[in-house]
Subunit: 122 residues, 2 copies
């Protein structure tokens, strides 16, 4: 069993367009190169792509994860962020009360979003 | 008639949760405070909220806009970004060929997204 214990799961909506799902998977690879505070950085999807959020969490737990941060890769707090993602996370929290699963704020709530928009438009 | 001519329309998905739509509207206010290269910064929605993208563009044109940048406030290039938003923009381009409407890259394609995620998690 893998003894690593701090993992990041980036959770996106999921798309019928597989290139869009792969974009999220590639983002995880890029994040893994930039950040070494996690033993792994992987992705899960609310709809239309694999793994689902519960399956993504279960895979991490099966490989030994003891602490998992779930980050909603969403820009605004619609129902997916306020209701659906917390519910999916709760399913696995109930299955594995011994694992610490922390739900981080969704990306759109970060202070840096507005400056990033301006920079990207220049 | 307003003589200003360079405008930014931030285009989001739209939500049944009105607080989420207001978040996008508030982002525009914040952007307007940070950036003075546009005569106005406003929002339009693909679904579930007002104004629609064509209506948002038409309102700007009615008030004198000659150049409009449309920025998709989306993180990945699913069908909304690759098909739906360009189609909505094209409707108004055909109605107003005299107005320059530029479709900017979607936010998720910005180089700064991965560093922003890492920063927001710290």
């Amino acid at each position: 069993m893998n003894t690593s214990n701090k993992h990041l799961l980036i959770v996106a909506h999921g798309s019928r367009r597989e290139a869009s799902n792969n974009e999220v998977r590639q983002l995880c690879v890029k994040l893994d190169q930039l950040e070494n505070s996690y033993d792994s950085i992987s992705s899960g999807f609310l709809e239309l792509a694999e793994p689902s959020i519960p399956d993504g969490l279960r895979q991490l737990i099966t490989s030994g994860a003891q602490e998992i941060t779930v980050m909603p890769y969403f820009l605004s707090a619609g129902r997916h962020v306020t209701e659906d993602i917390p519910s999916e996370v709760d399913i696995v929290r109930q299955e594995h009360p011994e694992v610490s699963i922390h739900l981080a704020p969704y990306l759109g709530s970060a202070e840096g979003v507005a400056p990033l928009i301006i920079k990207s438009l220049r």
